[in-house]
Symmetry: C2
Subunit: 557 residues, 2 copies
């Protein structure tokens, strides 16, 4: 079997015969009056027009720590849903919407791959229905209103040195990480240090993804802390009185987006915080709407189970009441080999010993999921170069550790390649799970972080830098220590050092900054050198992109 027979993801997606979005809506049981078409194959849904009180089961798809080899988590998510559909289940997918920044940076989309994709993939990856642009607008309108408030007299006594609200762009732009603004004299505002994050790191994205209604959205926006006064008192958006305008900017974006998988399964794609620097789950409103419509909702959380899944269960589930009824942990032989010390260039050489070593990473994530009281199922996502001996290592390990496991081949076969996995997941769904959060809100911030580090990352403990220690004291003083924590950590390692693959032990996690997000309702704990604004590589994917004379996209994955 050679790779040359394969079409690119874009070619497969472009060749696909999509169903009109009204047909998909009908299949999903969405009334016609709730649908607002965006082109022929996308729609926004007015959730107020959906009366159902159904609460479908939730299957959360997560993965081992990501490697450059690729695990195919979105691909498995989509393929699993198509498999459920082939098994005649009433199923929907709920996914995050892609950020444009990485699309222009590193080749690779967020819409699955091969014959397990959501479509129209080109639209979804580029602008889609404009939700991220609306979030960018709202974020930056707030920033402009803050600086304007100071320029126009600063009635609220805001200390320009203590503004924590940053501007954002949906672009990988390292040159904007640290900037000075307001230069040029008294007519150009008040000079101060500032910085840009990527849009998906905006608190507005988190608020957007956690809000349960337009009113809740407005309340959360009102509660955002933008900085502190000269007297060190927090300043909230509600004091600026602009939560109404911000809500207005987000009103249409807040409606979930309906698309379809290549297998014709209805899919909601809505909201998209990264899981390393934010909470990593699609919107509560999308997952909640999918549960009203389908018996089974397959959803995904970003990066490995230490990041997206931990946050799904400790943050999203706590705030929304949506907890997983089954968790799928995706891995590949290639990824396990990398965790076992093999370099990317040697992945095609059989190395069962490396799989045996690398499996420790999988083991750690399985233990994490079980710590939440939910039964995991391993999806071992096949690649062409996998050998029987390598596969046997994982199958044997799973058996010995009493974990359900299924081989998937959805990239090549679509839903058919996920039938075995679907059947294993159905076994778990048939049983009552004993889901619980990992910590109580009444515990101290140190205790919450320590529990995550010990029970999810497998580390020994935590360390606060002096400045984080000071921030923590202020957070306690302000009474905000009852919030859950949102860890900002590298996705590549269970530690805060990206190069430590596999299953490191006896490590401590350094908390270097704590940023309270009162709108989102959590405390972001920044560890290691985690960046909230990515950069572009030396050869950005943008160099390959083009549009043909007849208007077709080229070079997009």
């Amino acid at each position: 079997m050679t790779l040359t027979k394969y079409l690119s993801d874009l070619e497969i997606a472009t060749n696909a015969k999509m169903q009109p979005i009204m047909d998909i809506a009908k299949k999903a049981g969405i009334p016609e009056e709730a649908i607002e078409q965006y082109g022929r194959y996308k729609a926004k849904i007015d959730v107020n027009q959906i009366a159902s009180t159904k609460k479908g089961k939730v299957v959360l798809v997560t993965a081992t720590s990501p490697t450059p080899a690729g695990e195919g988590k979105s691909t498995v998510t989509v393929g699993l849903a198509d498999a459920f559909q082939q098994l005649k289940h009433n199923v929907m997918v709920a996914l995050r919407e892609p950020s444009l920044g990485p699309v222009m940076g590193v080749k690779g989309g967020a819409t699955g791959g091969g014959y397990a994709q959501v479509v129209p993939m080109e639209d979804i990856n580029l602008h889609f229905t404009g939700d991220l642009h609306a979030i960018t607008s709202a974020n930056n309108a707030l920033a402009a209103l803050i600086d304007n408030h100071i320029h126009q007299g600063n009635e609220l006594n805001i200390d320009p040195r203590r503004i924590i609200w940053k501007r954002v762009l949906d672009i990988n732009d390292r040159a904007l990480r640290k900037v000075t603004i307001g230069l040029g004299g008294p007519l150009q505002g008040v000079p101060r240090e500032d910085g840009f994050d990527i849009t998906v790191a905006s608190e507005i994205m988190a608020v957007f993804c956690l809000a349960t209604s337009v009113d809740d959205l407005k309340q959360r926006l009102a509660n955002i802390v933008i900085g502190y006064t000269y007297d060190r008192e927090p300043v909230f958006v509600r004091q600026l009185g602009v939560e109404g305008a911000l809500t207005l900017l987000l009103k249409e974006a807040f409606k979930p987006n309906l698309v379809q998988t290549l297998g014709g399964t209805p899919a909601l794609i809505h909201g998209g915080p990264f899981a390393n620097i934010a909470h990593g789950c699609n919107s509560v409103i999308a997952t909640g709407t999918a549960r009203k419509l389908a018996d089974i909702v397959v959803t995904e959380a970003g990066f490995g189970a230490d990041l997206g899944a931990e946050k799904f269960m400790n943050i999203k589930a706590r705030q929304s009441g949506i907890s997983p009824d089954a968790v799928v942990v995706v891995t590949t032989i290639r990824a396990l080999k990398m965790h076992g010390g093999v370099s990317k260039s040697e992945l095609t050489i059989e190395n069962a010993a490396a799989v045996t070593t690398g499996i420790a990473n999988l083991a750690r994530h399985i233990e994490s999921v079980r710590a939440f009281g939910v039964e995991p199922v391993i999806a071992l996502n096949r690649f062409v170069a996998d050998t029987e001996a390598e596969l046997a290592v994982v199958l044997t390990w799973a058996k010995e550790n009493d974990v359900r496991i299924a081989l998937t081949n959805v990239w090549e076969q679509g839903g058919k390649g996920g039938i075995e996995l679907a059947e294993k997941v159905l076994e778990v769904l048939a049983k009552e799970q004993n889901f619980h959060h990992l910590y109580e809100l009444s515990e101290t911030v140190e205790q919450k972080i320590t529990k995550i580090v010990q029970k999810v990352y497998g580390g020994a403990g935590i360390h606060f830098t002096d400045s984080a220690q000071k921030q923590l004291m202020q957070i306690k003083k302000l009474g905000w220590d009852g919030l859950p924590v949102c860890m900002a950590k590298t996705q590549y390692s269970l530690t805060d050092q990206p190069s430590l693959l596999g299953r490191p032990e006896n490590f401590t996690i350094t908390i270097r900054e704590i940023v309270p997000k009162l709108g989102a309702g959590f405390l972001v704990c920044l560890t290691g050198d985690i960046m909230t604004m990515p950069g572009l590589p030396k050869q950005p994917a943008a160099l390959k992109m083009d549009v043909t004379a007849d208007g077709r996209a080229e070079g997009l994955f």
Copy 2:
């Protein structure tokens, strides 16, 4: 008659019974396969699916120099089109799409008013179909790619001090006018001075509005000059090799947007450069498409005839071959009174003498239009406080100066209030016009600017600052002096001083900077203190905006 009986523009627009966009498309003669719906009342048009070779007549609507009293140019444009429709003409409107920045800043939309509006006004004013966001993305992706190129080794030898490509946001944000970026050490890029413009000032907006096809769009993007090397050689986008990616980001946005007027006239709203800092006309692709579909196309150019109309005729008409068959100059008694020296608080007091003085501004614009060989028609847009004596001043002046004039009352009456104007315009359309540009491309840059200043602004001459003089020398050396000029000038005055209303004489215009826009195909000449990034007022419109619990917008005009 009291003002209390009037509903707000938003209330009128919200109460309106709109026709489904497919019905509007049918009325316009657009084949179903060319339509991509965006919600129920907006659509994008695939212009390649429109085969017609028709070339409808073009009515260009312009105005006297704008005052805080408001002239109602967009309102008259929409009302005139509805009047043509009532007279059973096959008519379409082509308008610019609003920028979000001013919407959040100063109350007042760009979609007309009263019973002469394009709808859905709320959507059009907020995000619409995302075109401006796509332009923002493309502009800032290019900026990130430039800084990344320098950070990754700077193969093209770009001088970071001589980059002219600025970042943009569709927000009024004075604090971003002058910034320093790339701070924080070697991993965060190369420090340099930079600044943000508002999106509508981006060269990409100009390119977008002047391109005649996707291929032309790509060519123009490739031709953009982003800065200079250490050897003072220009650096083009094509050298970075990213024109394909930028075109891909703009591909869907480049399709014109179809909406409707309150009178049910099909309207294309597409592209929206400001006329003070850019060329001020909606896209060539929209005007061209409207001409293929309708016998009469009513379109608008921004601000007074000294700005939008001059640029329509010297830039857009020259590049696209679309010249006006009639020009409407909108004015009001209130505006003329302000040009005659009356303050805004005293506008309701009858003052025929002030009208007589202020009419000089109108006279200047009428002369300007005639300088292009096109016959103007005055639309005297009625307000409730206008008195018979005041109206008589203008009517008499028009008669004495042999200019057609019509009273309009479209704000209150919709199309019916524009019938008289439509009839006068039809008289002009029945005659062959002698349209010509005001200067030849072969003339020197100084000659081109001087002709505009003398024949359009009514000034004496021009003055270059030393730095503009140097820039001009370099432009000549590079052979770019054969391009048309795009004046960046205050809209409030015929001079470069915003406070000089009426018809100043014997003034000179100071050119303080010349920015070559090779993609757009013109040289931007900045005069006076014209800002390319507006600021917010002390009480921004955003403070009044809200969303009700049932999802309705409030406080938006």
